[in-house]
């Protein structure tokens, strides 16, 4: 944590530092907030809902959320639908291949807590494998709920601790 003390020392005594820091922090939060690129991975039975949300009526791209094909350019995994044991390993591989500011959104009751298949032998909740940022309830969740979940993620990104920020 010496990075923290170093940052706080600079912020106090260097005259314009805190103002510059606030500006950079604002721009960083604003740009990540409005350009979340989820990955093209539908793991379960909510996939038609994911298509309707990126479709015409409930347009996810209004918030800047554009599904991308390759894992390197994405910074958000939307775990859409149930996650079986075999699929959970794949989600873990993808999580490790992604660039650093990465987020996970669990869409639906199944990745959150196994949903209607609570007693099945091959189903896991996703937070045993990857840290999850936003949980969206519903089976399948309504498109408005998915968009509300993405907005929750946007608020979380803005309030995130970055660059050793001191409260």
């Amino acid at each position: 944590m010496e990075q923290e003390e170093q940052a706080s020392r600079i912020l106090e005594n260097v005259p314009g530092a805190s103002l510059a820091y606030k500006l950079v922090d604002f721009i960083d939060g604003w740009s990540r907030k409005y350009s979340i690129w989820p990955i093209h991975l539908v793991t379960g039975c909510c996939s038609p809902e994911f298509m309707q949300v990126s479709g015409v009526r409930f347009d996810m791209e209004r918030l800047g959320v554009l599904p991308f094909a390759s894992v390197r350019q994405c910074d958000c995994i939307m775990v859409v639908g149930i996650v079986s044991r075999k699929m959970a390993d794949r989600v873990k591989y993808l999580y490790e291949q992604m660039g650093e500011p990465k987020y996970v959104v669990a869409v639906g009751a199944c990745p959150t807590g196994k949903g209607p298949f609570y007693d099945s032998y091959s189903i896991v909740a996703i937070d045993e494998y990857v840290p999850v940022d936003v949980y969206i309830p519903g089976c399948p969740p309504r498109p408005e709920a998915i968009i509300h979940g993405m907005m929750e993620l946007q608020d979380k990104i803005v309030k995130e601790r970055r660059l050793g920020k001191i409260e």
């Binding site: 554009l66 390759s70 291949q97």
Partner: protein, 356 residues
């Protein structure tokens, strides 16, 4: 002067030629250095960057309209104007992953070269009689085609260096497509040069003053436009970056700002090719003079035609599905090349009987 001493020091026959090149480079930098405005703003850096940003925003909004939906909306004002800045800043701040099984220097260099080399060809486009950044007179057209001949090598190396099966197939497709797209373009450009009587782009534009070349060489006009689509990887010919088959083609492995460069490269290539297309067929910068200011109206007309061509190219993305690789090559070889030759013979015929 240091360089010339080293060159003279070798004093072998290659030393003379080396000295010759050095002398020529120094002479080039000092004698015809253009005013800063031309270098930085118009055919230079600012034009490419602004066009890349505006084109990315316009394409996303235009495609959204074609899909009957709204497109980026909340970011910046009510039309998602700042959406592209948000994307590029985020890409800038993102972690740049370089896989360990990859030659990291070559891997980091390639996306920059992919967007830089087509940008080189922009400096040959005439915005006005003497508003040409690299004024090499009658070498204009062949130099443009030479630079644009090198440009496709960069995606091939980028796909090859990222050591990923999908990008390997993407790079391999880039090679096939460019060969089948390059030859019709060069033949049609030759036909235009024959009709204009010179390779100098400014003379070509002046030769079109009474009638733009699109009318007498209509076949060449169509073939060149399809060639532009093939060269700049625009749908319906975006096979190297076929999103649904090869994840992202040769751009799969790049992350962070490297991917930002490859996004920009797509638009720089489109910019260079459509500007040449306008200069050769749509009469370049010539157009009715507005309010007496000659240079201003020339620039205005060139940019207006440029916007029209780019909008039409983006419109095609909503209308056409993508052909398969072998069908794409069949189009290139068995339709475009014979048509280009036919156009060449028609132009020779017109030239022989003195119609033009």
């Amino acid at each position: 002067m240091i360089y010339t001493n080293i060159a003279l020091g070798t004093a072998s026959r290659t030393g003379q030629t080396l000295a010759g090149i050095m002398a020529w480079m120094i002479e080039f930098l000092t004698v015809n250095s253009k005013p800063i405005l031309q270098v930085l703003v118009l055919p230079g850096l600012a034009f490419t960057l602004v066009f890349a940003l505006v084109a990315v925003w316009f394409e996303r909004k235009f495609l959204a309209r074609a899909m009957l939906r709204v497109g980026p909306y909340y970011c910046g004002g009510r039309a998602g104007v700042l959406q592209v800045f948000a994307d590029f800043i985020k890409l800038f701040l993102k972690e740049m992953i370089i896989p360990d099984s990859v030659n990291w220097l070559f891997f980091a260099l390639m996306p920059i070269m992919v967007s830089f080399v087509p940008g080189l060809a922009l400096i040959l486009i005439p915005f006005d009689a003497n508003w040409v950044l690299w004024d090499i007179g009658s070498l204009g057209l062949p130099m443009f085609l030479a630079i644009m001949g090198i440009a496709p090598l960069m995606p091939i190396f980028a796909g090859w260096v990222s050591n990923n099966k999908y990008s390997f197939i993407g790079a391999w497709r880039v090679a096939y497509m460019y060969i089948s797209g390059e030859i019709p373009i060069v033949i049609c450009a030759a036909a235009v040069a024959i009709m204009a009587g010179s390779f100098n782009l400014v003379k070509i534009v002046e030769a079109q003053s009474n009638m733009i070349f699109a009318i007498p060489q209509f076949i060449g006009f169509i073939v060149f436009f399809i060639g532009v689509l093939i060269e700049s990887e625009r749908t319906p010919f975006d096979l190297p970056v076929a999103e649904t088959e090869l994840v992202f083609g040769w751009r799969t492995e790049f992350s962070g700002i490297l991917f930002g460069f490859t996004m920009m490269a797509e638009y720089v290539m489109l910019q260079a090719w459509s500007l040449l297309f306008i200069t050769l067929y749509l009469g370049g910068y010539s157009g009715p003079i507005i309010m007496g200011n000659v240079i201003g109206s020339h620039i205005f007309w060139l940019l207006a035609k440029f916007c029209a061509v780019v909008v039409f190219v983006i419109l095609l993305r909503c209308v056409f599905p993508r052909p398969r690789m072998d069908q794409m090559l069949k189009i290139g070889w068995s339709y475009l090349t014979p048509l280009a030759l036919l156009n060449l013979f028609i132009v020779l015929g017109l030239k022989m009987w003195g119609v033009f």
